[in-house]
Amino acid sequence: MNQLILAVLVLMLGAGLCLLPTSNRIRAGIGLISQAIATLLAWSVVIPVLMGGPDIAGEMPWAYPIGELHFRLDALGAFFLSWSLPMTFLGSIYAVGYMQKHFQGPRHLGVHFALLNMVSVSFLLVYTGEHAVTFLFGWEIAALAAWLLVIWDYPNQKVRFAGFNYLVSTHVGLIFLVAAVMILYTHSHSWFLDDFGDWMSRNPGTLRNGVFLLLVTSFGLKSAFFPFHSWLPRAHAAAPAHVSALMSGVIHKAGLYALVRFLLLLGKPDEWMGWFLIVFSVTSAVVGGLYTVGQRDLKRLLGYSSTENVGIAGIGFGAGCLGLTWDIPSLVMLGFGGGLLHVLNHAFFKCQLFYAAGCVYQIKHVIDMERLGGLFKQMPVTAVCFIIGGVAISALPPFNGFASEFMIYSGLFSNDSIGVWAKLALSLAATALAFVGAVSALSITRAFGVVFLGNSRDASLPEAHEASRWMLIPMGIHALGTVLLGVAPVLGFAMVAAPTALLMHHLPHTVTTENLHAMISTLTRIGAISGALLASISVMVWLRFRFFAQSPVRNATWGCGYDAPNTRMQYTGASFSTDFAERFKNVMVLLKREKAPTGYFPSDSYVITDCVDAVERRLYSVIGHGDETATEVSRKMQEDDPRLAFSAGLAALVAIAALVLLAEGALP
């Protein structure tokens, strides 16, 4: 425990010291060093716990009314900490490259690095907090730090708006969380998560269901499940690339952590909870996936794919929940294990994709896909990292996304003795997952093809070249992780095994071990297949270019007889996706602005297709209408009418009396 407290202190001290020096270089240096030290300190206790060591607990006296703060590091928290901290560190390294032009400028970079440190602090608090207040405190630090990081480019009004949007959404989520905590507190008379769990496992019923729904809403807002995702695409598009990467890959995983944590506390969940989670997550995955198709802003696209991927992990958790209800250990293992492994894998490839997008933006100063193109030749490293991440995010072998989705699929196609309709319903969820996979393959092909392949579409943009090493190295490390966890998913599973076993704590030890071994052998096989695939492709390609090495004739692309093509005639992102997107126009709102060519010598004609968020649009229109209605009503009322004042007072009294009556027994 001491190391963890020390890590928090180091991070906070680093954050404070970051602000002091006069040179941006030194400020960044302090930030990086403190992050590195804190990561190592945390690893020194986290890894033993993750490898099956005993939990670590600690207490700290605190002022009234909170009393003692309890911390406990168990396998679940250790799992999240073990990659969150180093990935934040890598993000900070990337920040050095991304912010390069500001190093000489007037902006104070110390604040930025201090905030990155605070993000790490929030992880340490949330993932070890045993006291509800610590948990909420960490939760709030993460939200505020992320908000401040998003609005780095605050002179831009759009960025401020995106930041504000995020701030409001995340606090709406906080309200739900606080509501749930208050209900739990009034019943368990304690601030400790364990006591919450005690109460919940002993009192299944309406109130527990209510708490579950409040919590899922709150965590859904945090992790951007559909329909609570509307803040996400804006925030991801506005933030600097590493901040988007960290938010999507790391920070918002806190929502999933909290979901699993409360499922762990819940005791035996009701059957509807599992089904609810599955339906909720499937919707999120499908809609998130569909939205990636229409985006022209590369970072918005990646943002929506977070909604998709938390949905996929959520499907796993839902299946695991059903396993808990039905007492099927293998389903618990596959569901929660697969979900958690997907969380880890997603952190690897999503950060990598955002980093690649950041490299493109830093060099070209444009993130609109329709203006880019042909970057592969000038930025091969970035391009290869992007496509590795892209293949992984489409859950295709031989990279890591496949291993975790394989586990989730195996859970959904479970051959255990469950009802035939339940079996069919689960395979429908698997079908939806297959659809999501195909859709995300579509949008990744589109993004990679339009941005990196073909020829450059806009000659007015700066000449492309590879970004600085500060950016390439973190991206490369992530890519390495993506490949490694693909060919050796057992490594990932080794990290997931202990937290999954935690969910099976009520079962006899032998059952857990048996399932763990079965899982390890399955994953070894998957890794072997991925490895064999990778190896046989390499061998085949090597044979081809070694023994039939005649150099090809280079010639222009086949133009069907047309010999004056220009680069603007290439297939664009919009043309790639319109066919598909128009079939889903009920879900996606496609805005088309066009000016058709007219006359004999047409000039200046265009078509611009934009995919806007339907939820956000609807939300704003409802808020707008509500605003208008309220104004209308207040205009009609005469304020000096005494009858109005009396009736309003009476209504308020009745409402308060009703609340008191309803709450009787609930209050201590």
Binding site: L396, G449, I537, M540, W558
Partner: protein
């Protein structure tokens, strides 16, 4: 026994792409009253292509030429897990069908990327069509597997398909499942009415337009991989119908599968001769027929098991 079956399976995997394409073309020729090309014609075509020096677009990146081999290797890996002779596949483990579907997915994404590589609008169009139609085709396979999994309680692809004919509702669900697989075959192997391999207009192509800029050995590999995909689906249909157990009744099982695969090729050829390619906007609806057929058999299994 397993080794012998595996050898025969591999012989099927490697030879069937040639024979099935030959047979499809033959049966098309019968309908128009021509004698038609030799059964082995596509082997000669591939041989000719292998000897050629490739022409590569100046816009293509270094990923372009290796792409073809990725597609081929993925096809072969998937074929090693796909049952053709009934309840047998050389590589067989629980939930291997996910690996089959996703390796084919990798092949598809690489094929689409190689199409976009060259910066041509024709090939982008082909890739876009392939991508959007595959989103309708992909779920069908999983619906089908879900049905078979609920009916048989097995977990590996070969067992699922091979054991289906021992289940009580086989007689009802076999027709919709075969229909679904046949539609999948037409979509995945780019046959009429989804796509027309004989068309000469780029605007109406799907698969052919994606490999317009491939030439020489890479083109040969791409074409062989496409034919391999067709024989995989033909093999699946054969395994689904084949009443013989390849372990207890090897000779009958193998011969039945062979006959069934050849029949599938003739059926594909006949459909191709008698109907035209669908308008592009109807293709999703056509693929939905497959989904509905698979969903229908799912409902049959559900109702059957709950005693209706």
């Amino acid at each position: 026994m397993r080794i012998l079956l595996a050898l025969i399976h591999w012989a099927f995997v490697l030879a069937m792409p040639i024979f099935l394409i030959g047979l499809v073309n033959r049966s098309k020729s019968w309908w128009v009253g021509r004698k038609g090309p030799r059964l082995l014609q596509s082997a000669f075509d591939l041989w000719r292509l292998l000897g050629k020096r490739p022409v590569v677009s100046t816009a293509a990146s270094p990923l372009f030429r290796p792409g073809a081999y990725v597609v081929l290797v993925c096809g072969l890996l998937a074929a090693s897990m796909t049952p053709m002779l009934g309840q047998f596949a050389p590589l067989q483990f629980s939930h291997d069908f996910i690996v089959v579907a996703y390796t084919l997915g990798l092949a598809r994404i690489v094929l689409m990327i190689s199409a976009i590589e060259v910066g041509s609008s024709f090939e982008g169009m082909g890739a876009a069509r392939e991508a959007s139609f595959s989103t309708y085709a992909e779920p069908v396979l999983f619906l089908l597997i879900g049905t078979a999994s609920a009916a048989t309680g097995m977990t590996s692809f070969a067992d699922l398909i091979g054991h289906l004919h021992n289940t009580p509702y086989y007689a009802i669900i076999v027709a919709p499942l075969v229909l679904a697989l046949l539609i999948l075959l037409q979509a995945e192997a780019a046959r009429v009415p989804v796509d027309d391999p004989m068309t000469h207009l780029e605007l109406t192509m799907i698969h052919e337009v994606m490999i317009l800029d491939h030439s020489g050995p890479e083109l040969a590999v791409m074409q062989y991989a496409a034919a391999l995909k067709m024989s995989m689906y033909a093999g699946l249909i054969a395994a689904l119908i084949n009443p013989f157990n390849p372990f207890s009744d090897p000779l009958a099982g193998i011969l039945a599968s062979l006959a069934l695969m050849l029949t599938v090729a003739v059926v594909v050829g006949c459909i191709e001769s008698l109907s035209a390619r669908l308008p592009m906007r109807w293709v999703p609806a056509y693929l939905l027929i497959a989904s509905v057929a698979a969903l229908g058999s799912m409902v049959v299994i559900g109702l059957g098991a709950s005693g209706v």
